[in-house]
Symmetry: none
Subunit: 457 residues, 2 copies
């Protein structure tokens, strides 16, 4: 057994306890009531890095603080930036959690808690991996930089601002990010593409107060009905987006990619069985994987208006609203999509209501080149830890900040997800496989060693 394997084995229990400590901090970035928890989570991350003798800093921002850390330069070796986030999604609906979201519980080989896989468990593998290399080899083989933010779930605005003026400080040769999934339970993956996002809230205001639906109904434009009509007009029944110009800039899938996707051992029946549906609608002419990874989409994320309680209240609501997102593919611009949407809205806004559109964070999609030495190093490290070579896949979700890294730092981005599709990210009972947690630490350690072999002139 190598020094590092011995170290990983000896410290496995401690690693899990550290993750539990991290998960107990309810760092919900979307909720202002959790502001103190956000600072506590940042301090927790900073203390882990400080104990590795890195130069650390908690950087205040207009929102939640950034944690930044760096090790000394290693002559001739690359500089590697680890990115992750310490913030988590809200926990509602709370009643569906089997155990409380911030009391980590071990069940069926998993650790169950909000943030277990997204992203506390995954980002921690890259802290513990470096710790392990340091302990086993006595030195880091590359210069390491850590940039761990607290606003990933709410749009990364402060990190974007920071990067706009600190590109030189965080300059690197590659960025390592683990904030996603393997291809399947046993097949690791290197993700080379992410979808982008354009997220909006729409508010429809009608009369100045809730009205009696009997006395007024039929003579007044109903805001809730109008909202439904607007949302329904955005897509056809197969999910094809109808906003004029929406597909103009879409980068089409290459034949090679389509063949690669088709060759992946994707069990579609199992996929649908796992989420409990017996069928699906989706854009015509595309496979399920293509729809998830490489085609733009529209989804209503939340909708509200009028009476939601028990029984029958005959009210014509004064207002209604919804949150929705477009997932974008590489080459689509969130700003252009937002502009197209704004231009189109008046066409579907009837007299008697006003419609307000609120723009949330947007990010374009990303494609990472597959032929760089960093990708090859990552493939070797993943194979070492997970026992088989990774497949190359894309991801339907968005990590908006990846685009910024890719564009601002001109660095290759290694998207190495250790999670699983059914980890319930953003849902009740989020979990992370403990086996994968330890494999992730091992892969991270090996990755640093592999990257140390790359000679920088």
């Amino acid at each position: 057994m190598t020094h590092i394997d011995q170290y990983l084995k000896d410290n496995a229990d401690r690693f899990e306890e550290q993750l539990c400590d991290f998960l107990r901090i309810p760092s919900i970035s979307a909720d202002p009531a959790h502001k103190p928890d956000m600072l506590q989570a940042a301090q927790w991350v900073e203390s882990q890095l400080r104990h590795m003798d890195l130069t650390t800093e908690i950087i205040p921002t207009a929102g939640h603080p950034l944690v930044y850390a760096e090790s000394p330069e290693v002559p001739g070796a690359p500089t590697v930036l680890v990115y992750g986030h310490y913030d988590v999604q809200p926990v509602e609906p709370l009643e569906l959690w089997i155990t409380p979201p911030f009391e980590p519980a071990r069940r069926d080989g998993n650790l169950v808690a909000r943030g277990a896989t997204d992203d506390k468990g995954q980002v921690l593998t890259h802290i513990l991996g470096a710790q392990s290399v340091l302990a086993a080899d006595g030195r880091l083989p590359v210069r390491l930089k850590y940039l761990i933010e607290g606003e990933e779930e709410v749009g990364s605005a402060s990190l974007e601002t920071f990067l706009a003026t600190n590109a030189a400080r965080v300059a690197c040769d590659c960025v390592v990010i683990s904030d996603g999934c393997k291809f399947s339970r046993e097949i690791p993956a290197i993700n080379y593409g992410l979808r982008g996002i354009a997220y909006f809230e729409i508010r429809v205001q009608g009369p100045n107060r809730d009205l009696h639906s009997g006395s007024f109904g039929g003579s007044v434009t109903n805001p809730a009905t109008t909202l439904a009509r607007i949302l329904a007009a955005i897509v056809d029944r197969r999910g094809k987006v109808l906003i004029p110009g929406f597909y103009d800039d879409v980068l089409p899938l290459s034949e090679r990619e389509r063949r690669q996707f088709a060759a992946l051992p994707f069990d579609e029946a199992q996929y649908f069985a796992d989420i409990g549906v017996t069928g699906a609608t989706g854009e015509e002419g595309y496979t399920t994987l293509e729809r998830r990874w490489a085609r733009p989409t529209f989804d209503v994320c939340g909708i509200w208006g009028g009476y939601q309680g028990e029984g029958a209240k005959t009210v014509l609501p004064a207002k209604a609203g919804a949150k929705f997102s477009f997932r974008l593919v590489p080459n689509q611009s969130p700003a252009k999509i937002a502009a197209a949407l704004k231009q189109w809205l008046p066409d579907v806004t009837p007299p008697g209501v006003t419609v307000e559109l609120i723009e949330f964070h947007g990010a374009p999609g990303v494609i990472v080149p597959l032929d760089s030495p960093y990708v090859e190093a990552a493939a070797r490290a993943v194979e070492h830890a997970f026992g088989r070579s990774p497949v190359y896949s894309r991801e339907g979700g968005s990590i908006p900040i990846v685009t910024t890294f890719y564009e601002t730092l001109k660095a290759d981005v290694l998207l190495l997800g250790w999670g699983q599709d059914d980890d319930n990210t953003h849902s009740p009972n989020e979990k992370f496989s403990l086996v994968d947690f330890h494999r992730g630490i091992k892969a991270s350690a090996r990755l640093l060693q592999e990257l140390g072999q790359i000679h920088k002139g």
Copy 2:
């Protein structure tokens, strides 16, 4: 001066004192603490009717007692049922009352007290009217029945139960109800139509949990988007309902009705200004009054699903739901509408979701033919008392107990409101114009005389 006019004049002060006595009883049906007051109010009503030599009964119920009274049959003349209620709304916020709610005060020609117009003052006109006819003519020209309940403000449950098994006992040719408003301060109205209602909740269930809209979006049928599509498919952009067969049984507006509606001094600009909108959508080819009173409609009353909190949560919700109502017009059957909706739903339900429809209460619309001799008698009585002929109006809302009378008794229902829009029913400083109180008594007396002229074979 006729006998009856003389009688009305001579007894005007006593009438007002009797109303004050009635108003001093704090008969708040919603508040269990007022249970003894409820019985006292019922006894007060019963004693008024007993002094007119009617057979009277206080009928206990699971809730508050009913007061029932009837006079002997008048051969060849119709039977007339007077309905009203002795219960009143709660009085909070008490601090906004200028004088205490159960100490009737005369101000600006009004009597101010809780229940003044809703419904003590109005129901009393039909007791004092009959007293006056009896005193002046020595006999009642029709058989009179009174059914005065104590639960109108809390849902009329006991009366519904009573009517289900006592239809024969309260059988009549027409029902007289004064529990509403004139068309305007100086224009009396006969309300000859109510809309019905069919109320539903719809629940759309998709995947077995909330999903990440990035990882899954595009490959899964979104329940919230589906809900929007279903609701949007129910109506066109002008509010015309698209469910097949929905309009099959609709009783069209007659040319006479449309001319009458058009002739009403309805200030549409003021109507829209009051509710704070600058325009409206509505069924093509119909005026605002026609849309409110005489056309069936669809309204979303409540809608929910997914994330409704602050910020942007990128979730594909597991489920979504809505409550909605159809307002029906006479001759439409709530059961047929429900059946048509159920039959249509599968056509708009895509693969990947299940749709559940929950049926709430339904009630058909009510319409009294304008050429009914009872309506004509009422028109003459109202003109006699108010100095101008009434307008014929309809109401967009539903009054469930009126529907029950209409359906159970197969009798024409005369809705003769003596109140005004600004009488503060259900609000502090409820009032009833004393002039209208006396006009109401006069109209009620004349109505009995007019109805006495109708020959029943």
